[in-house]
């Protein structure tokens, strides 16, 4: 029993890490990762939403009629996202200005709905929350990684602190939109190569 919890908790960090393994939630992963800070902020906001929405949906899984389950999930998720948005405006105003429209768009982030449908609808609340937390933290780590790479090589800074010598010419291409695709593509390729080298089976979902 305890193993199930530990398995679920660690699954989000490697076995199911979004967006590399669970190729979902690519829109924010591409759009807001201009800097490590934005990536981390977006990732943590998503983690918060997916943890609580998994908990709430799992607790209500026997009450919600299956025909209207998606509508019910969306209402719950939208509420949580709006609360996150208000919280960010109240305490992290500048971050909320930078992330802009991508915070409300967490509602339609496939990770949140995917975990609700794929995990929370079949498992008890505590386990679902652990799953949401682990997937959310995995997502936050991935977005921070993508953001860090783009920021370090694209602007020469990390979390706003200069890390590369002034003689380094920043590749501004990386902080613009095409750089996001290239960075994510390379990371996906490295991840797949590594998995193949270890002889792991590709796990979907």
């Amino acid at each position: 029993m305890a193993n199930t919890y530990i398995d679920t908790l660690t699954a989000g960090l490697w076995k199911r890490i979004p967006p590399f393994r669970l190729v979902l939630g690519l829109c924010p992963a591409l759009a807001v990762t201009m800097s490590a800070e934005n990536g981390l902020g977006m990732g943590l906001a998503t983690a918060f939403v997916v943890t609580l929405s998994n908990g709430a949906i799992s607790a209500l899984r026997n009450v919600i009629p299956s025909k209207v389950r998606i509508a019910a999930y969306i209402v719950i998720i939208a509420t949580l996202v709006s609360i996150v948005e208000i919280l960010m405006k109240a305490f992290f105003f500048q971050l909320s200005q930078q992330l802009g429209i991508y915070i409300p768009l967490i509602v339609v982030n496939c990770i949140v709905l995917g975990r609700a449908e794929g995990f929370a609808a079949k498992n008890p609340p505590l386990l679902s929350m652990i799953d949401g937390f682990s997937i959310g933290i995995g997502y936050a780590l991935s977005l921070t990684l993508v953001g860090s790479l783009r920021e370090i090589f694209g602007a020469g800074t990390w979390f706003g602190i200069a890390v590369l010598p002034a003689s380094f010419e920043p590749m501004t291409f990386l902080v613009s939109a095409p750089g996001a695709f290239v960075t994510l593509g390379i990371l996906l390729a490295v991840q797949n190569l590594f998995s193949r080298w270890r002889g792991e089976k590709f796990i979907q979902g």
């Binding site: 209500l60 009450v63 919600i64 009629p65 025909k67 209207v68 509508a71 019910a72 209402v75 719950i76 939208a78 509420t79 709006s82 609360i83 208000i86 919280l87 405006k89 109240a90 305490f91 105003f93 500048q94 200005q97």
Partner: protein
């Protein structure tokens, strides 16, 4: 209970609970949101108008009622006398949405200290250039007893090229503020001294 009734009841209940949660979150956090908005939206404008850090001047605020609603006024004191005001208003007739501007007035020298765009949704590249200092600095030092107008209307303000509407709205907003301050100066000063 039939299936349909159950669906309706469950969905309505979920929606109800969610609305309640949202309302309370909004209600509880509103003061914090307002504070942050003041600091990040009005703060930079006030810093430039008063030449002081926003933290020092944001608290110096009175709200004076007007026939069009409530007007937020920020002030700066020199000893006991009120030396400068910054009055927020909406520039009438702007191109898109509300053009919120703040007009700085030096009461001692009877001069304008500047005009700042606090928030706007003007066209990027045209009307949005109202944010640029090249346009805004024309307000500095103008006398407060004469209305402000753009050059095509016989005034001294060079309009932003391609954005006469926005420029005119900024000038009109300034005149609204000038009239307002002229009419209500005593009331404003009384409110400030009463703090």
């Amino acid at each position: 209970m039939s299936e349909i009734t159950r669906m309706v009841v469950v969905l309505s209940l979920i929606a109800g609970v969610c609305s309640a949660a949202l309302t309370s979150a909004n209600y509880l956090l509103e003061p914090y949101v307002n504070k942050q908005t003041d600091f990040f939206v009005r703060g930079p404008a006030l810093e430039r108008l008063f030449g002081k850090p926003a933290e020092e001047v944001l608290g110096n605020k009175v709200v004076v009622a007007d026939e069009n609603g409530e007007v937020p006024i920020f002030f700066m004191k020199d000893g006991d006398t009120v030396s400068r005001l910054a009055v927020e208003t909406i520039g009438p007739g702007s191109y898109g949405g509300n053009l919120v501007i703040m007009v700085g007035i030096d009461l001692v020298d009877a001069k304008l200290t500047g005009m700042e765009a606090v928030s706007h949704s003007e066209t990027p590249g045209l009307g949005a250039r109202i944010e640029e200092d090249a346009f805004r600095r024309q307000w500095r030092g103008l006398p407060i007893d004469q209305p402000v107008a753009i050059t095509t209307d016989g005034g001294v303000i060079d309009a932003i090229s391609g954005a006469s509407t926005t420029s005119r709205a900024a000038a009109a907003g300034t005149n609204v503020v000038l009239d307002f301050v002229r009419d209500k100066e005593d009331e404003i000063i009384k409110q400030i001294q009463a703090l």
